[in-house]
Amino acid sequence: MAGLSLRGVKKVYPGGVTAIHGADVEVADGEFVVLVGPSGCGKSTLLRMVAGLEEITGGEIRIGGDVVNRKEPGERDIAMVFQNYALYPHMTVRENMSYGLRNMRTPKAEIEARIAEAAKILQLGDYLDRKPRQLSGGQRQRVAMGRALVREPKAFLLDEPLSNLDAKLRGHMRAELKELHQRLRATFIYVTHDQVEAMSLADRIVVMNAGRIEQIGAPREIYDRPATRFVAEFIGAPPMNFLPGALIGANAPHVGVRPEALTVGGAGEVRLDGVVKLVEDLGADRFAHVAVKGAEAPVIARVAAHARHAPGEAVALTAERASLHAFDAEGRRAA
């Protein structure tokens, strides 16, 4: 296990398209870092450069202190879990897990021991002699994880490992992954486009957009103090509301406010008048979409579970000044 460090890492494709404009990330030993962003933001490319599957145009990547820019993926001492698992279809689970070790000429007894250990952690004991096609999605996912585990690598790289699972299983595997990380205390770099996964798994989140890193920080920090308007909109569901600053007497061009910071009625310092357009009931939460004069999009507010609001009803939304996020014209956080 070891930390990772990316300094000024750039990726320019031969056609001249720049996929990553210089990324700087420091990952501490044993840290769970999630790269999150919309599709095409370069997060997978960045991970693949760490893995050695993509050439590095500029900058330097260190794993455990050694510069690995020119090293083959097999020599970097990392393990990767792919989105489609990439299990070898003709090999049994056991062979899949041992293949890398056999290539490294690990002694047989040691391979056996490591597989037994990984199988115990991942509850794969009964499936070791099956082929991947005889396994369900969740089991395949575990085998892919197991294949990474037995390598005992310096870092685990995971490229959207849960996106091929159905919603229920995804939630379950997410919890398992978190548990696994706590147990191993290994360095994880995890790529996802799902902000829920990012929030729930990460020690630190790296939010990326269009080949640039927008913000790096702990999940709470990113949620509470988004550095840019992009981060504010991307993290959180339903997303943060944006209003022209003038509408609520702020001197910033754009002001954001999270749905849960708004209350219907109440005695907040800021007040918005509007008409309820529709109410979404998600079980635990209810969200009212309120048309406010002067705002581009309906303002979404979390309402109390017992409150009954009918479409067409005129309501007053209020919020505390402290809960507002001000952004300048370029979308950067203003103080």
Binding site: A51, M80, F82, A86, H90, R133
Partner: protein
């Protein structure tokens, strides 16, 4: 489409039975003729059921040299055919899988140029390039040898193309996983690509074995010594009996024997064959 009309079922079955009859009747006639004496087929009516000379005919064919076939025992010709067909099938598969591997997985100058060069040899089967190929084989001193029999037939654009198409369907992630698992190019080929191509290899083997077994023109050209004669040549030589009456019972017997190895290959590999042509192992 599901239809349930009884008369339609009867009609389709009648059609199928007719087709089976047309296919099987000649084989049946060959079997029957090979168990009669030499004159049975020249007389009318032609017998439709087995005669009493089957054992005699076949033991004569397999063991003794027939003067009508140039004195070469059928067993030896079959062995020659088997060696040639195996060399061609195995050689073609080996060469083309390696060529396809190079073309799909390696970036080298004029890669596509090489691919198209291989591809256009589809238009140049042995029959077209027979004179220059013969010239080459003569200069290499390969007349009357198994190498000479099989080598010119080993290059195969079709098989290369088939493997290329198959390799292109193998997900990139699998290649990347292998790279992370420290599998170099040779290991990747041996441990992953070849096992995954198993069904394709089997399907190709059947097709190529039969292709090799049925070769006629090329063996006729490059063999002058009787110990390299192949079975297909042998049958042809028997029918060319000149003034004498053709020895139909021996010819048919030889034809029946010549059918056995390809039939065995097809039967033993048919499951893999169908799999290789229809489904891709995921």
């Amino acid at each position: 489409m599901i239809e349930n009309r009884p008369w339609l079922n009867v009609l389709t079955h009648a059609g199928l039975l007719l087709g089976v009859f047309f296919l099987c009747f000649p084989v049946w006639m060959a079997l029957v003729a090979s168990t009669h004496g030499p004159e049975a087929l020249s007389r009318s009516p032609i017998p439709l059921w087995f005669g009493d000379r089957g054992w005699e005919n076949y033991s004569q064919l397999l063991a003794g040299g027939l003067p009508e076939a140039g004195g070469v025992p059928v067993g030896m010709m079959m062995l020659n055919s088997l060696i040639m067909a195996l060399l061609i099938a195995v050689g073609k598969i080996a060469v083309s899988i390696i060529a396809a591997y190079a073309i799909v997985y390696f970036r080298f100058p004029f890669r596509m140029g090489f691919f198209w060069m291989i591809f256009i040899t589809l238009m140049l089967p042995v029959e077209v390039r027979i004179l220059p190929t013969y010239d080459v084989i003569v200069r290499l001193d390969m007349l009357n040898s198994y190498t000479g029999l099989s080598l010119p037939l080993v290059a195969s654009a079709t098989a290369t193309f088939l493997f290329r198409q198959f390799f292109l369907t193998i997900p990139d992630e699998l290649v990347e996983a292998a790279r992370i698992d420290r599998a170099g190019p040779m290991r990747f080929f041996r441990d992953i690509l070849v096992p995954l191509s198993r069904t394709n290899i089997a399907a190709l083997f059947i097709i190529l074995f039969i292709f090799g077994w049925n070769q006629y023109l090329w063996p006729l050209l490059v063999t002058t010594e009787e110990r390299y004669y192949t079975i297909v040549m042998g049958i042809q030589r028997m029918t060319n009996s000149g003034e004498a009456l053709p020895v139909w019972h021996y010819i048919m017997g030889t034809a029946v024997l010549a059918m056995i190895p390809p039939v065995l290959v097809v039967l033993s590999m048919q499951k893999l064959f169908v799999k290789g042509l229809v489904e891709q192992e995921k």
